[in-house]
């Protein structure tokens, strides 16, 4: 997941700044204009632009343009399709033989080989490189040796033992456990190949990253902007339909929105919350509001005695039924959120395991039933409940107030639910990680890859990396293990859904709503759409 909101939304996204060059004279950022270049808003990436060190949208946006990995997620369906991969074969869901297509080159002219992948993955996995997305490589055998989990432990190996180069175009991957959908995860940027230059001249590479994707970077001025142009020797099918992209960093997405209205910008991919009500009027059919792979939930501290046991379960289900999701999504979010009916996301599609009806009554607003359940459980622990979240970004404060009002009305008690605001995101995460919660707290998940597995395992498997509520269920773990070992994709997904039903019964977290990605574009461009990660598909955009 990448947190969206960290800055803007990480749970939403981040935000940004930039430049405007145009009318008044245009600075040297280039003023776009009739040269077929798309001018888009950008935010300063939070981390250096290394593939395995990027876990937020703004850095991801660039990586998506300058890199192509083994797979690519189809912007429309979200399905993983072969990009550089010619074939990925396995007999036992554990040993994979990867063959890459011939003819791919990096933008510095060097060929992309099996070694480019293996070196990149070893770099991303190694603890000394402190890459924030290292965990992507955790499935590969030998991860524990290069990336010990305990603080202070030293790695005992330099490279992943599960990776082996066979020849220029082939390498073998051994996973530590069977994971049938593993090839489908390979569309994520962390799995991108890296040229030798990355290792030989790291500083130089960071100043101007070089990849193998449809665009190459012409100039990069950190925290100001970037210009990209078509990479002439790009070997993939999705060649850009424009001449390039100019990314301008904006401090505040309101300014980007104003710049779009003034015609100084072509694409913004995060409509500011304050403008959502006007966006449809201002932009008409140039306003995009489509599902993104993000779900918002409220988690319970299952490590706290008051929320445990059969009574705790009834409380959790009761609270879920006390929330009027319909009203909140339309009034506060102007339909940029959709009431959630399961623990996944609409971007998975029905074939991918999305099932809006899976949660059923438990996720529907039913104040009477909610009150009954909570009364049966002996009332809220201590007589009231809090909702905790950081309030520095997004509209967290507003929707939390609304959820609390909804609960208070359902229980007919004025102070049953109160909001407990935390000033900063980092502070909030510290408290969550330290198990200091005693009431509900906000949890959001932005998928790493469009697989049902990614919405379940990292969040609810015993001791999983983002299992913030401390949920542990033998039945659930068992079903996840079985699903991962299944060879047939359809059966695997059905088993994942069975696991999800366990969650509906246990309710370690209340699904609130699916989040949409929003974007707007100018009259100068067409064919703008967002991929399942809410990043504009730049290669498709036509200018003029």
């Amino acid at each position: 997941m990448r947190p969206r909101a960290r800055l803007c939304s990480v749970i939403a996204g981040t935000a940004a700044l930039a430049l405007a060059a145009a009318a008044c004279g245009g600075g040297d950022g280039g003023s776009g204009g009739g040269d077929g270049v798309v001018r888009a808003s950008w935010g300063d990436p939070q981390h250096p632009l290394e593939p395995a060190n990027t876990n937020e949208v703004q850095g991801g946006k660039v990586l998506d343009m300058i890199f192509r990995g083994l797979k690519r997620y189809d912007p429309e369906s979200g399905e993983a399709e072969d990009a550089m991969a010619e074939s990925i074969e396995t007999d036992d869901q554990r040993h994979f033989t990867v063959t890459i297509e011939d003819g791919w080159t990096f933008q510095d002219g060097t060929p992309v080989t099996a070694e480019s992948y293996v070196d990149a993955w070893n770099y991303g996995a190694h603890v000394d490189n402190a890459q924030v997305a290292s965990y992507f490589f955790q499935f590969i055998e030998g991860y524990d040796e290069v990336h010990p989990t305990e603080e202070g432990q030293r790695p005992t190996a330099d490279t992943l033992s599960g990776l082996e180069v066979k020849d220029d175009r082939t390498f073998e991957v051994t996973l530590s456990e069977p994971f049938s959908l593993w090839p489908e995860t390979l569309g994520y940027a962390a799995y991108a190949p890296l040229p030798r230059a990355f290792f030989d001249d790291h500083e130089g590479w960071l100043a101007k990253p070089v990849g193998n994707g449809p665009y190459k970077i012409d100039s990069y001025r950190q925290s100001q902007g970037m210009t990209l142009s078509r990479y002439a020797d790009y070997a993939g099918p999705d060649r850009p339909r424009n001449n390039g992209v100019e990314l301008r960093v904006y401090t505040d997405n309101n300014t980007a929105y104003t710049d779009l209205q003034a015609g100084n910008l072509d694409v913004i991919d995060d409509v500011p919350a304050g403008q959502l009500a006007n966006a449809e009027n201002d932009l008409g059919d140039r306003y995009i509001n489509q599902p993104a792979g993000i779900i918002q939930t409220l988690s319970f501290p299952l490590y706290d005695r008051g929320w445990r046991g059969e009574e705790g379960r009834k409380l959790r289900q009761g609270l879920s039924m006390a929330i009027d999701r319909e009203q909140i999504t339309s009034r506060i979010f102007h339909d940029t959120r959709t009431p959630a009916g399961d623990f996944t996301s609409p971007v998975l599609g029905d074939n991918g395991g999305f099932d809006r009806g899976l949660c059923g009554d438990v996720c529907s607003y039913d104040p009477d039933r909610a009150k009954d359940l909570i009364d049966e459980a002996g009332g809220l622990p201590g007589g009231s409940v809090t909702i905790t979240s950081n309030v520095d970004t997004g509209s967290h404060r507003q929707w939390m107030d609304a959820v609390c009002n909804s609960v208070n009305n359902a229980l007919d008690q004025r102070d049953a639910c109160t909001v407990n605001p935390v000033p900063t995101f980092a502070d909030f995460r510290n408290r969550v990680a330290g198990h200091e919660m005693n009431g509900m707290f906000r949890t959001g998940w932005q998928m790493d890859y469009p697989l049902i597995q990614n919405f379940l395992q990292p969040l609810y498997y015993t001791d999983a990396s983002s299992n913030d509520s401390g949920y542990s269920s033998g039945e659930f773990d068992d079903l996840i293990d079985r699903a991962n070992a299944q060879g047939d994709e359809g059966e695997a997904i059905d088993t994942f859904k069975d696991a999800e039903r366990v969650l509906v019964h246990d309710m370690p977290a209340v699904p609130l709503w699916y989040q949409n990605g929003t974007a707007g574009f100018s009259e100068r461009v067409s064919d703008v759409r967002l991929n399942p990660f809410s990043v504009p598909v730049f290669t498709d955009i036509k200018v003029g």
């Binding site: 947190p3 969206r4 800055l7």
Partner: protein, 307 residues
């Protein structure tokens, strides 16, 4: 005068150390910034540990401060979490904010003092009343509202300016943002000058000057204005720092990548090296601006002597 300046400079050392230490403690006391870097995913302990070591976050706080100050004196302000040296951020941000500050300061000095003198000389007339009402409005309406309104009207409706400035803004691009930034101070300068001028017009030395038969213009500029400027200069001195550090709102509205932007971004991401580094430089600017003001007193009023 030389000795006075040296004494003041020496006094700055404890002030500087104290102020930076307080800031350091406050920024780092908010909590561990590393977990914020991982978003909603719990950080894996080994990577978090490696990052803490990289930024010296595993040391006790006082030691961190000593390490930090030691590096600062060698010109190393550390590295922001996005891998960029903080000095590089400063190199870019400070000149921009300085330009913006300059535009704002010039507007505020020229317009503020001119309006102040005119209204001070015509107390009670309709011009005086309208200017007073106008300043009241400016002070009462938040910069945010004025800024976005002006931006929308001039930038979108009329198309006279770009709503956002370029990454390396020229002075003319900064005219409107500078005006917005200076408006509140401008109103204060107007009011201060007006009061001061109004008071001094009744002073003995002004009557004497008139009695000597000096032309009115000379009386106003040389005698009246010079004496009336002391409170204004005090205010302007403090305002230099405010304009540089306090432009967060204006810089966000017009997308100016200056000090305010870097501070805002740093605070939001709990990027301690950025925040502390920028504030340290701002502390220096405040101290020097105040020293400059004190020295200016002597220039304006010969009765003030420093020994």
């Amino acid at each position: 005068m030389g000795r006075y300046v040296i004494r003041r400079l020496v006094q700055m050392v404890p002030v500087f150390l104290g102020a930076t230490f307080l800031i350091f403690v406050m920024v780092y006391a908010i909590g561990d910034p590393v977990s914020g870097l991982f978003g909603d995913r719990g950080p894996d302990p080994a990577t978090a540990q490696a990052l803490r070591e990289e930024f010296d976050l595993d040391e006790p706080l006082p030691l961190q401060y000593v390490l930090y100050m030691g590096k600062i004196f060698t010109g190393d302000f550390g590295t922001a979490f996005n891998g960029q040296p903080v000095t590089q951020l400063m190199e870019h941000a400070f000149p921009i904010s300085f330009r913006l500050m300059l535009v704002a300061l010039v507007l505020e000095v020229v317009l503020g003092i001119a309006l102040g003198v005119i209204t001070g000389l015509r107390r009670g007339r309709s011009l005086d009343t309208s200017v007073l009402v106008a300043t009241l409005v400016v002070i009462a309406v938040p910069t945010f509202v004025l800024g976005t309104t002006v931006q929308y009207v001039l930038g979108v409706k009329l198309g006279w300016i770009d709503p956002a400035v370029s990454p390396d803004p020229r002075l003319d691009e900064l005219l409107v943002p500078g005006l917005i930034l200076s408006l509140v101070s401008l109103a204060y300068v107007t009011r201060l000058t007006r009061t001061s001028v109004a008071e001094n017009t009744r002073a003995d030395y002004i009557r004497t000057a008139h009695a000597k038969g000096l032309p009115r213009r000379r009386v106003t500029v040389r005698h009246l204005l010079r004496n009336s400027l002391i409170p204004v200069v005090t205010y302007l001195g403090a305002d230099v720092g405010n304009l540089m550090a306090g432009a967060i709102v204006t810089e966000r509205i017009f997308n100016i990548q200056g000090v305010g932007y870097q501070l805002f971004q740093g605070i939001l991401r709990q990027n301690s090296p950025t925040v502390v580094g920028f504030v340290v430089v701002l502390v220096l600017i405040f101290l020097l601006a105040n020293l400059l003001v004190d020295v200016l007193y002597a220039v304006l009023d010969p009765r003030i002597r420093y020994v």
